[in-house]
């Protein structure tokens, strides 16, 4: 069971919002890079976020670049899970590959600052602030296997190959 606070963002949060290209020179200094997580969407996010919190986006979360640094800095900020109405393809794969769950649910019903409880196994999100209960879509089988191993590289190291 995951428990934490929701940080709500709007629709169309791009990888440039998550980690702007102007910080490309910090990509080999991840702790420094991570200080700028989601800076162009909420300049105070890196200061506010606490270990175990949730990033809650709208539609097409993570659109744009293939930079795996985007889910990586979100994970490094201590975020346990990303929730969104829909997610861009490359970001989705990248997040799962790093062991960061992305759950698709009706995030319009979650407000900024709400306390959430996520049950990955049961597929439910409970908004402890409002009492609302949401269900999220199933993560496709192959991605679930990767997620359960903690990411793609740990999966490959354990199995020596990729199977579907």
């Amino acid at each position: 069971m995951l428990k934490g606070r929701a940080h709500k963002f709007g629709d169309g949060i791009s990888t440039d919002h998550i980690i702007p290209g102007r910080y490309a020179h910090l990509r080999s200094d991840l702790p420094e890079l991570a200080k700028h997580v989601l800076e162009d969407a909420d300049v105070n996010f890196a200061k506010k976020v606490k270990h175990g919190d949730f990033v809650v986006g709208g539609s097409n979360f993570g659109l744009g670049s293939s930079r795996e640094h985007a889910p990586l800095v979100i994970k490094m900020a201590g975020v346990s899970t990303v929730l969104a109405k829909s997610v861009a393809r490359i970001f989705f794969r990248n997040a799962i590959n790093l062991g960061l769950p992305v759950l698709i649910c009706d995030t319009d019903r979650i407000d900024d600052g709400d306390e959430l409880e996520v049950d990955l196994a049961a597929g439910t999100v409970k908004d402890l602030t409002t009492g609302e209960k949401l269900t999220f879509g199933k993560i496709p089988g192959v991605m679930l296997k990767i997620l359960n191993e903690g990411g793609l590289i740990p999966y490959i190291q354990k199995h020596g190959d990729i199977k579907v």
């Binding site: 169309g12 791009s14 440039d16 919002h17 702007p20 290209g21 102007r22 490309a24 020179h25 910090l26 990509r27 080999s28 200094d29 162009d40 539609s59 097409n60 659109l63 744009g64 670049s65 293939s66 930079r67 795996e68 640094h69 889910p71 990586l72 829909s86 861009a88 393809r89 490359i90 794969r93 990248n94 590959n97 790093l98 496709p140 089988g141 192959v142 990411g151 793609l152 590289i153 490959i156 190291q157 190959d161 990729i162 199977k163 579907v164």
Partner: protein, 416 residues
Amino acid sequence: MGKTLAEKILSEKSGADARAGDIVIAKVDLAFVQDTTGPLTVRTFQSSGMSLANPERTVLFIDHAAPSPSANLSNDHILLRDFSRESGCILSEVGDGVCHQIVAEAYARPGDVIVGADSHTVTAGGLGAFATGMGSSDVTVAFGLGKNWFRVPETFKIEVDGNFLKGVYPKDLILHLIGKIGADGATYKSLEFHGDTIKKMSMSGRFTVANMAVEAGAKVGLFAADETTKKYLEAEGRGKDYQPLEADADAAYEKTIKINADKLEPTVSRPHTVDNTALARELKGTKLQQVVIGTCTNGRLEDLAVAASIIKGKRPAEGLRLIIAPASRRVLLEAIEKGYIKDFVEAGAMILPPGCGPCLGLHQGTLGDGENCLSTANRNFEGRMGNPKSFIYLGSPATAAASALTGEITDPREVT
């Protein structure tokens, strides 16, 4: 039931009867990274304990920060050079050009599966390659195993018929399509381009259209490999890489979108999303401080030819910075031979070395607060060109060149 291009290619490369929705393991024919995604990929790869499956089909491109504007990025470049030397993979150096242009010129073949740690890897779909962007972990797996898993995408058939009017180009077509279906209108899908307009389209135009498939969320943007493809590969000295490729007539499409090319007009994406489109003429009066012509979307010879024909013998508007960024060394050389570079320089433009230029906000034309830029690139997200307080419009090389002359967004038909 017949197959779409995506189903055909993934069937061939997986050895399975690949149908939309299936998950397959497919052989990867080319895997590459660039200098902003490469260092993470190389470190991930080194820590994984794998070795390269196909060093001669593994390429590291230095194009995003080229030449490097900072010590940190120079050190990233050293990491890539060292890895190339130690592993035997191919290095494309500073000044060679943008990865997608060089993949098109030198590597991509019809029917290939290509993965690149860059979202605009889709560009090679213009040649009939199933080319898609992935992150560092997925590319690490392609590096080490020579394969990866793919979900076979459903396909939207984009049927374009008719002739472009004067001043209208493939860029206007793809901006129009993205405006119509939205930035997530084709998420996870294959966009497959059909129709007589597409059959007549040059390879350069096909690359422009395929390049922006990802801006509608698509996994690939695919074109049949035909006589035009064959001639392009022959001209590149790669005639042997050609194989004809087309979708089956009875393939199953999730939907068909018909576009009448005769009805298209010069189109522009407004800040801060690519699907926020308008006609160039509707934006008349929007003042510009910078115009960029180049990038993997529109930095090819044909693009520079169109721009030079508009700019030659004229001057950009007072106070407007005109930046030209050829997509590759080959393009630059040919543009020199054709006299386009002279035309640009005489008109007062700046010529950047082949590479990504100012597109992603690293260097070579970062915008100031409140400034407006019209660029021929593919993305206009908030902060994309290095400053979240600036505004980016996207258009064709013709619209960009015309707008450079007037200093405001201009329909190219007004100045030619």
